[in-house]
């Protein structure tokens, strides 16, 4: 007898009747075809699978589906529709914040959460990025973009 897990993903109700211990990342990528969330390490070390759960950034590779039962999950595909994300995206283009792009959705999710957090002005963007690895850019363009977006949004 299998437990059924219900989760909100990007505003839609999802019923999962598979293994409740399956990583949320696999369910997002394979069952829901939300491939914007990337698998970089699978062990919580790189940040490429960052998502937002009830407003808080989390790593989808470390979360069993059962851990998000009844909660609201937002992926990069959904966040990309918000004006905050758009401001961040344009700032990243102007500041050279992406190269190969593989870490980029995770970086965008982390920075989006930072911009949305009530204490965004107190925490630095570098602090918000501490769980995300980028091998291409050396981070400075990303941090400049984060600051530019924060200013543009008046946060």
């Amino acid at each position: 007898m299998t437990d059924v897990v219900e989760v909100q993903v990007n505003g839609e109700r999802v019923r999962w009747d598979g293994d409740p211990a399956a990583p949320l990342l696999d369910v997002l990528r394979e069952t829901l075809a939300l491939t914007g969330t990337k698998l970089g390490c699978g062990t919580g070390e790189c940040g490429a699978c960052s998502i937002v759960v009830d407003g808080v950034p989390q790593l989808a590779c470390l979360l069993p589906v059962a851990a998000v039962a009844g909660r609201s999950v937002r992926t990069v595909e959904d966040l990309a529709r918000t004006p905050e994300f758009a401001a961040l995206r344009e700032a990243m283009v102007v500041n050279g914040g992406t190269q190969c792009g593989f870490c980029t959705p995770g970086v965008m999710v982390a920075l989006w959460s930072w911009l949305e957090a009530p204490d965004a002005t107190e925490r630095s963007a570098a602090e918000a990025l501490k769980n995300n690895l980028c091998r291409c850019t050396g981070y400075r363009g990303i941090l400049d973009a984060a600051e530019a977006a924060r200013r543009a949004l008046g946060r």
Binding site: R29, A33, T35, G36, T37, K38, L39, G40, C41, G42, T43, E45, C46, A48, T75, V76, E77, A80, F85, L88, R89, M92, V93, V94, N95, G96, G97, T98, Q99, C100, G101, F102, C103, T104, P105, M108, A126, L129, K130, N132, L133, C134, R135, C136, T137, G138, Y139, R140, G141, I142, L143
Partner: protein, 727 residues
């Protein structure tokens, strides 16, 4: 086919689909059973339990795959799966394809292999001894490559020198650290094999794979999805072949996505190099001779390491005038995972040794290290000792710029435990010996009546910004907005022929073809153009007269270079970029921890084609260099990687990279498109040397072995203190 729009917005929104994101109908998942022994005879393989697992579609051993010996370079020592012997931990023994990951995992666990361990060898210098175990029988002294170069009388020059500094430097095993683990999809149909494979030299990969399966070249097609970082790690890979073998056996597409542990245990890291070096100077600080012996660890098979050794032996001789030079290079097999390229290969390692020795010479002669370098660098218009014609060189200006940016004069009066170090670098923009048959590039340019431009190239973007650079070049020739240009690449079946992205060749050589194709398009449209009217209108007129609504032209660009002769002499690249970097560090004497507190870079890459991308490239290279010199090392003991995770192998994070100030000295080079030279490899070449020179300046002792971890720096300090205590 993959459309590489010059548009980063898709990447930023998570819409870009990498190979792991692609799904084909009926696709299986593949995996590999790897050897737990560094060297062993394979006594028996039992696949019966795995074959009985529901969902398993193919189980292959070395006996089930083509028995060809092949390889991507002149050295042929590859197989698809191991036969008779495993020659490293991680060697591929059995491959399995199954309908889902659960069945695959069960099948991989159900394979039984009996091994008889054999003596193994891990140190290149020991592996060259007569009594060492033979890793590839028939290869004398386990040495697939032995380089010897001498120009001038080095012995006489060093005997007559005022001062000779002699040292032994070692560089570490660096994992490229691409965020996208290696992955591939293979599919067979009536036309042959199609691989969806992130390789940035797909034409060479195609030749290698065609040889492995004994297929005509036309029956292998490589489609290159967007590449999630490589830095030299994604050239020609065995998992591509293994996926192909599985897909053929199972008669279904097979995807392999390597997990991070596998990717690191069987990684193909930067070639670890030992450099024994001597440099002599006269009393005025003019270099008179350089002598190096290089030992390089190839690992168990030859990937791209021969080119690395050749480069390490000679490239710095085209940065400084050493008077007379000699190099001996040994590339040696060991029972470890094969090593290969990483950004700046060979040159960055060699410069780590050269630039440290130059600082020692400066100390002993009492000359400012920046000025000692300025005195000895190559000059524009010169031909170097290896025959490189220096068409442009702004090293003098780069040294002055980096001195100004860093306020170099502070160096004499820094607070205790602070230090500043300088290092220079050179590089190539394409390299003639990469492929003796052809080292040019082809491009197609198209424009329609609405002014939409398409560029097709055989070169590959791996995140370095090729689409942006080519769009900028095309826009400049055609007089259109950059945003109107779409750059397509990455399919050996559909795109024009290109060598691919290595040796810093994309902007100058691939870009040269793009410029020529656009010029050919202008010429084609000239009869249809009304004065200075927009080119799109001419495209419309051309289309009306010739059918359709667009015009197309193609071009082949062949750089004006020379294939070096048997002794390695010749002008191998159309032009040469240069750089001068300064690092400032602070050392904690209690812990040995080094923090890079400031970094300044001045680059001569000719005309900068894409300023935002160029800046991002330079900072990214500096970050990689900081990781290399201070924290990264793939620790291998007894052939086993001890730190195969991103937790235990630490890449630089956002707080490890200081603010960076950059100056581009933009003097157009006569041989590059709009005066451009290459950039992104040259930007990592001086970093290890600049940071290590800064550390030596801060603590008064010089570390010769990378990485300079807190433990190593603390030990250096401790040994200096005990040496200073009177007996």
């Amino acid at each position: 086919m993959i459309d590489f729009r010059s548009d980063e917005r898709a990447k930023l929104s998570g819409a870009t689909r990498y190979v792991a994101d692609l799904q084909l109908d009926g696709m299986l998942v593949g995996g590999v059973v790897r050897s737990p022994h560094p060297h062993a005879r394979i006594v028996r393989i039992d696949t019966s339990r795995a074959l009985a697992i529901p969902g398993v579609r193919a189980v292959l051993t070395g006996a089930d795959v083509p028995q060809v010996v092949f390889g991507p370079t002149a050295v042929k020592d590859w197989n698809i799966l191991a036969r008779e012997r495993a020659i490293m931990i991680g060697d591929e023994i059995v491959a399995i394809a199954a309908t889902d990951r659960r069945a695959l995992a069960a099948a991989l666990a159900a394979i039984e292999v009996e091994y008889e361990p054999l003596p193994a060898i891990f140190d290149p210098e020991l592996a060259m001894r007569e009594d060492a175990p033979a890793i590839h029988p028939g290869t004398e002294r386990n040495r697939p490559l032995h380089v010897k170069v001498e120009r001038g009388d080095v012995d006489a020059a060093l005997a007559g020198a005022h001062l000779v500094v002699s040292r032994r430097y070692t560089t570490n095993r660096i994992y490229q650290g691409y965020l996208e683990p290696n992955a591939v999809i293979a599919r067979w149909d009536d036309g042959g094999l199609t691989l969806f494979a992130p390789s940035h030299i797909p034409t060479r990969a195609r030749e290698t794979y065609a040889a492995a399966f004994e297929l005509p070249l036309e029956q292998v097609r490589i489609v290159v999805p967007p590449i999630g970082g490589s830095f030299g790690g994604k050239y020609v890979l065995k998992i591509h072949l293994i996926a192909a073998a599985l897909a053929r056996a199972a008669a279904a597409p097979v995807k392999i996505v390597q997990d991070r542990t596998d990717d690191m245990e069987a990684a193909h890291p930067r070639v670890p190099i030992v450099t024994e070096i001597r440099i002599g100077v006269d009393a005025e600080g003019n270099f008179v001779g350089k002598d190096v012996v290089v030992y390089a660890d190839a690992g168990s098979r030859v990937y791209w390491s021969p080119n690395v050794v050749q480069t390490a032996c000679t490239r710095p001789d085209n940065l400084y005038d050493f008077g007379a030079v000699r190099a001996e290079g040994h590339l040696v097999y060991t029972n470890q995972s094969p090593t290969t390229c990483m950004r700046g290969f060979g040159n960055a390692e060699a410069l780590f040794a050269v630039e440290n020795v130059i600082d020692e010479i400066a100390e002993q002669l009492g000359i400012d290290p920046a000025e000692l370098r300025r005195k000895n660098v190559v000059r524009p218009g010169e031909t170097t000792i290896h025959g490189w014609r220096i068409s442009s060189c702004e090293l003098d200006a780069c040294i002055s710029e980096v001195q100004r940016l860093s306020r170099w004069e502070r160096r004499a009066s820094l607070p205790r435990w602070r230090g500043m170090g300088i290092a220079l670098a050179n590089h190539v923009s394409g390299f003639r010996p990469i492929d003796p048959r052809f080292e040019g590039s082809n491009a197609v340019a198209r424009i329609d009546a609405d002014g939409n431009v398409e560029i097709e190239t055989g070169e590959i973007d791996l995140g370095q910004g090729l689409p942006g650079a080519y769009a900028a070049l095309a826009a400049r020739v055609l007089g259109v907005e950059t945003e109107r240009v779409v750059v397509r690449s990455g399919d050996t079946g559909l795109m024009p022929y290109g060598i691919g992205t290595l040796a810093s060749r994309a902007t100058v050589i691939g870009g040269g073809a793009v410029v020529q194709a656009c010029e050919a398009l202008l010429a084609l449209l000239a009869p249809y153009r009304d004065g200075d009217a927009p080119i799109a209108r001419a495209a419309g007129a051309y289309g009306a007269a010739n059918g359709g609504n667009r015009a197309e032209a193609s071009a082949r660009y062949t750089p004006d270079t020379e294939m070096p002769d048997k002794r390695g002499y010749g002008n191998a690249s159309p032009n040469y970029p240069f750089a001068a970097h300064v690092a400032e560090v602070e050392v904690d004497p209690l812990t040995g921890k080094v923090r890079v507190v400031g970094y300044w870079a001045a680059h001569d890459s000719g005309t900068i084609v894409n300023p935002v991308g160029a800046r991002s490239q330079v900072i990214g290279a500096i970050a990689q260099g900081i990781g290399w010199v201070l924290m990264e090392d793939l620790l291998v003991g007894g052939g086993r990687v001890a730190n195969p995770s991103m937790m235990d192998y630490r890449l630089p994070g956002s707080d490890d990279v200081p603010p960076v100030e950059i100056a581009f000295v933009e003097t157009p080079d006569p041989n590059g498109p709009f005066g451009a030279k290459s950039l992104s490899e040259c930007a990592i070449d001086p970093v290890a040397a600049a940071v290590s020179n800064a550390i030596a300046h801060a603590i008064g002792v010089r570390g010769c072995d990378l990485p300079l971890t807190p433990e190593r720096v603390w030990t250096l300090l401790a040994s200096a203190r005990s040496a200073a205590v009177p007996a």
